[in-house]
């Protein structure tokens, strides 16, 4: 997947927020959070912004585009 994320790291930094707590705040299922953290599901732009907002970060601090073809 070309987009990596630091959601798991952000959760631990946010007083070890659980996946269920994050899911409840975002209005999604815990399975969706698991899929996002493992990189198996890429969230929509809206959800990505909302995830970043939960942790008080900018979206590029949580989601990083990894372009393997450049450089």
């Amino acid at each position: 997947m070309p987009i990596k994320n630091t959601v798991r790291r952000c959760r631990f930094d946010a007083d070890e927020m659980t996946q269920q707590q994050l899911a409840d705040r975002l209005g999604v299922s815990r399975q969706t959070i698991i899929s996002i953290e493992s990189g198996k599901y890429q969230p929509s732009l809206e959800l990505a912004f909302r995830i970043a907002a939960v942790f008080g970060k900018r979206i590029e601090e949580v989601f990083v585009f990894v372009d393997g073809g450049s450089e």
């Binding site: 399975q31 969706t32 198996k40 929509s44």
Partner: protein
């Protein structure tokens, strides 16, 4: 496993459990030259009633046990992908079965054209539904 994945499993299994025996029975009746409108009608009504119970009861139990069920964007994306593939499957089946059905017409001397077209249409819908829920289950597992 989330609620929507459980429901997809229930629907997939119930369709397979009901309609594979149903169409197998019709094929068996064709081979024994005993397929007529009464047999088809009884088998069809039986299949509908069986599916109501096999799908309805587990689905109700899943719904009751998991009251916090949430349908989010991942569910919608998976359903969209599944329904797109199911639609392609439905159109393909209709085209193939209508063409094939007209060629196989002499094999069903005891049935009217409407019954044959109805059964071929049902087979197309069942195939499309199987594809729909199979894709949902596969996508839920793939992104789990």
């Amino acid at each position: 496993m989330c609620t929507n994945e459980r429901l997809a499993w229930v629907c997939l299994v119930s369709i397979a459990v009901v309609y594979i025996p149903y169409f197998s029975f019709l094929v068996y009746a064709v081979q024994n030259a005993s397929l007529h409108l009464g047999v088809v009608t009884v088998a069809f009504v039986g299949a509908i009633i069986a599916q109501m119970f096999i799908t309805g009861i587990p689905a109700a139990i899943v719904g009751i046990l998991d009251k916090k069920q949430v349908t989010d964007e991942r569910d919608i994306a998976i359903r969209h992908k599944a329904s797109t593939l199911a639609y392609v499957c439905l159109i393909s089946c209709v085209l193939i079965l209508v063409t094939g059905g007209s060629l196989l017409r002499p094999m069903f001397p005891l049935l009217g054209d409407g019954v044959i077209i109805g059964q071929l249409g049902l087979l197309s819908v069942v195939n499309a539904e199987l594809a729909n829920y199979a894709v949902q289950v596969f996508e839920y597992r793939r992104t789990a």
